[in-house]
Symmetry: C2
């Protein structure tokens, strides 16, 4: 009766600037049995970003090879850069480990269609004003890039209605606790407890 | 967009001896915005039980009057004693406060049918052996009463499949955290966040 079978796939989306990355790192550092899926991207690393921690930074040619070999469970072009989730990342689920995928709403939809599984969580910034502030303070983006990200944020927000959960990132500690609670609660769902 | 509307109704069932009462008190003492619904019963108080904290201890005649006046949202006879949830307890939900009802599986079914609402949580003892041990160490029950409770426990366990969540009470601190997480997670459900 004790859960020990397949891990749970958590799919987390947020407009950039919602504070998703910081939040997810706090959750996985604090909660055993769940880890982050690292995506591949053709985007250049931002200051401080590390290979294999933030992303696997690969060339466009390598990315296209992986696409051809069907080695992504989902991929998307965002602001001109390619992002993809390697299928091999999902192997940890078979070992009973829970996994978090950080992907945009397009990718989340593909995951739900392809896997018929996954718990979808949307991280919301407290307001669009706060979002803009965060995007600007992060640095490294041009004014055009910031404007494009804000427009895109609005489009992403329209998609949140079909997510299972919404976490409003007003205050990092509270939001961390909410996200961790969602993971713990999903492990207690009757179907999962009885299946194991 | 912030949740501020109706509270969430949590319905918690467990075989007696699963440690439900201790667990629920820990959760409500630690988590703001949620309280326990106090039931009425015709059963005699056990040693240490307090009027208005554990139950409202009323006479059979008073109970039957309340039944006639339709003042219970659900009531049940268990081991010959009557237990009922006063409708007035649900008023706190309208004020945005979450509420926990401790009721047996019969009562839980009535709540789900009548209110078409509520999050159902089943508390499971680690094993039937542990359950028997706990029932005996509690004292105040005759051997016949203990045997009846054990038989009833088995019947209750058959009902857990239609509950939303199962919390296995192996260790009180872990189980408290799981129950609190379920409450926090349910507050983050998209339908509730967007409705508010």
């Amino acid at each position: 009766m004790i859960r020990g079978g397949k891990g749970i796939l958590f799919v987390v989306s947020a407009p950039s600037g919602a504070g998703k990355t910081t939040l997810l790192r706090r959750v996985v550092s604090r909660l055993p049995g769940v880890s982050l899926s690292i995506s591949c991207t053709t985007r250049a690393p931002r200051p401080g970003e590390q290979e294999g921690v933030d992303y696997f930074f690969i060339s466009r040619a390598e990315f296209i090879d992986m696409m051809r070999e069907d080695r992504f469970i989902e991929w998307a072009q965002v602001h001109g850069d390619l992002y993809g989730t390697p299928r091999s990342n999902l192997e940890r689920l078979q070992q009973g480990e829970d996994l978090i995928l950080e992907i945009d709403t397009q990718g989340a939809r593909k995951i739900r269609e392809e896997l018929k599984d996954g718990v979808l969580i949307f991280i919301l910034p407290p307001s669009l004003e706060v979002l803009e502030e965060r995007l600007r303070s992060r640095g490294g983006d041009s004014e055009e890039a910031i404007q494009a990200r804000l427009q895109n944020a609005q489009k992403e927000l329209d998609q949140m209605t079909w997510y299972d959960y919404i976490v409003v990132n007003r205050e990092i500690e509270e939001a961390t606790k909410e996200l961790a609670s969602i993971i713990i609660a999903e492990r207690c769902r009757t179907a999962r407890v009885l299946k194991a």
